[in-house]
Subunit: 337 residues, 2 copies
DNA sequence: ACAGTTTATGCAACTGTTTCATAAAGCCTA
DNA sequence: TAGGCTTTATGAAACAGTTGCATAAACTGT
């Protein structure tokens, strides 16, 4: 296997010049560089040791990776929008798996040439985010909130838009409004529930736990919701479904039941992409722009990387908005069926 | 700034031992390692030069990145399924942007510690795939086919399933069957069209170019399709829509027109994920399992990385299947309306 | 208890990078 | 065209981190 010294000998230059040529150091003349590179390519040279390139930005999962979800895909897309011009590369890592025994997170990032990381977390692994922030490594958590620890985060606050959503339903005349929320109580779903409670309280409507559904945030959750509503003696006339796929699947299942939406059931869903336009009718939904969150995340990260040693802590809240489409209307007097 | 020799002096060991401890070389005893790491952490040591970690697998775009699309997201998910246990990390790069002047693709990959790459390409940038394969770098192209160049690829051949789809419609009694295909003529869409033609030919039905729609592979394409069909004097009774989002959007638009599916129009869509379960009725579709393609891709790549110098060329074709759901049925005598 | 085996560590050689000195080349002015 | 000044491409040498090999220390099995 060729070494840089052999290349240098063959090209008739010093090892230093070969190193510079390979690393596109502007000090070498174009003629010299192409002479050296031709020798390099001919000899199938491969460097073994080198100055570490630290130009990666990690998209890091602290717990179970949710890679492949439309939300994560949109986040990555947004990040790459902004990374284009900066010469950074995106790397996806699973921290739980990548961390070696006795290794600190900073060491892990160092080892992989990572300059900053966007963290995706779960309720069980929030301490990892705190640990990374405490080590002083440039990091920003998405879609979670840290009120008492100095952890940077970007958070799409869905409480206000959720309240708007329920107000919208109340304004249409609905009084029995169901909420379908995740089995897992993360900050996002807690917000949506809080918005729901606030809107009800503002209209002096008592919270009814029979209208509070805890379901998996998946297609299956939406299907189950409709079946359970169908079996109720006093069915709600509207539902706020706090997960995109659940909401779309609920609409499908409602159609299968022979219900008309919004006549028999008004549905407000949640959307972090464009799913609301793929349902019939188009879905009234609380929307967050995941791509924009990704863009924002990278910009914050860049600032954090710049401010080394300053221990800057960025905590930003982005708005979510209610987009009214065709899945909500005034209730029929009798409710479904 | 501390160097490895200073750490060594402070810990009372040799630089070699420090290096081994930092790199989690199993030769050092746990006691020794934690002693050294405590000195390392105390002194905020940061290595500058190191053995290059070449444990990255790239998800590389030769042309415009389509990051964020459900298909790409599912591919990545599949790849990461298999990468978990191998200690590889996934890196997303845009080759066009990352390549430096006078640099070969192998050099680029070398520089970024990439051992193998999965290539996503466009018709205009296929030559990049050929170039990378010619350089002998471990690479595999997804969703494209190279018949005359020694380029490894994994391809989901949708011709047979497309023929099955049209046969299915013919079997139901349809005779005027539209096809909606992409404006861009890539291998995938060419296959689907070929399957369509074959099925028609087998039943002695003449190809009618008025039933051949070239539309953008997007929501908008599906919407346009339905509007154009609605305006036709002799509308088709069924349509094969070769793109997932177009197909879903077409179903929505059909509902908006007041049509019933499948009564007024049978639709066979395409699905590379789970979208067919989010339409009402569930969509009969030609399905490819993008996640499985991603898994397969990583396994092939692993083999290619293993066979250095052998110039192995893997060309695999995966089947796609027709999944019959509720969006197809026997035609009403009169066609839509 | 002793010979044989294993293994943790250091030495020294090695790889690639970078600073600094320097020779060559360019560039004004006279 | 010469002479001084600046710029710059290159090499020598120092430097950073890694690793093959030798070896001393710690086990292991009679």
């Amino acid at each position: 296997m060729a070494s840089i010294r052999e290349i240098a000998r063959e090209a008739g230059v010093s090892p230093a010049t070969v190193s510079r040529a390979i690393n596109n150091n502007p000090a070498v003349t174009p003629a010299m560089r192409s002479k050296i590179l031709s020798v390099v390519n001919r000899s199938r040279y491969m460097p073994t040791v080198s100055r570490r390139e630290t130009t990666n930005i990690a998209f890091a999962y602290t717990g179970e990776p949710s890679l492949g979800s439309p939300y994560d895909a949109a986040l990555m897309l947004g990040m790459s929008d902004r990374m284009e011009q900066c010469g950074f590369d995106l790397m996806v890592i699973d921290l739980q798996r990548a961390l070696m025994p006795h290794e600190s997170y900073s060491q892990l990032f160092m080892r992989k040439g990572i300059r900053g990381c966007v963290l995706r977390t779960t309720t069980r692994t929030r301490h990892v985010c705190e640990q990374i922030a405490a080590e002083g490594f440039a990091s920003i958590v998405l879609a979670d909130r840290f009120d008492d620890a100095p952890v940077s985060y970007i958070y799409a606050d869905s409480k206000n838009a959720s309240r708007d959503a329920v107000e919208h339903l109340l304004g249409l005349g609905h009084r029995r409004i169901a909420i379908a929320r995740n089995l897992v109580d993360d900050a996002d779903h807690a917000d949506r529930f809080a918005g729901y409670r606030e809107a009800l309280a503002a209209h002096n409507i008592e919270y009814d736990e029979r209208l509070d559904f805890r379901l998996p945030a998946s297609r299956d959750g939406g299907t189950q919701l409709i079946r359970r509503i169908a079996a109720m003696p006093q069915a709600p006339t509207a539902a706020y479904i706090t997960d995109p796929e659940s909401a779309a699947a609920a609409m499908v299942e409602a159609h299968r039941m022979g219900w008309q939406i919004p006549r028999d059931l008004s549905i407000v869903g949640f959307d972090d992409g464009e799913l609301r336009y793929l349902t019939y009718p188009h879905m009234t939904a609380v929307c967050q722009d995941a791509r924009e969150i990704g863009r924002e995340a990278f910009e914050c990260l860049q600032q954090l990387i710049g401010d080394t040693g300053k221990h800057t802590c960025i905590q930003r809240s982005l708005p979510t908005v209610l987009a009214v489409h065709g899945s909500t209307a005034i209730p029929r007097s009798g409710g479904p069926k």
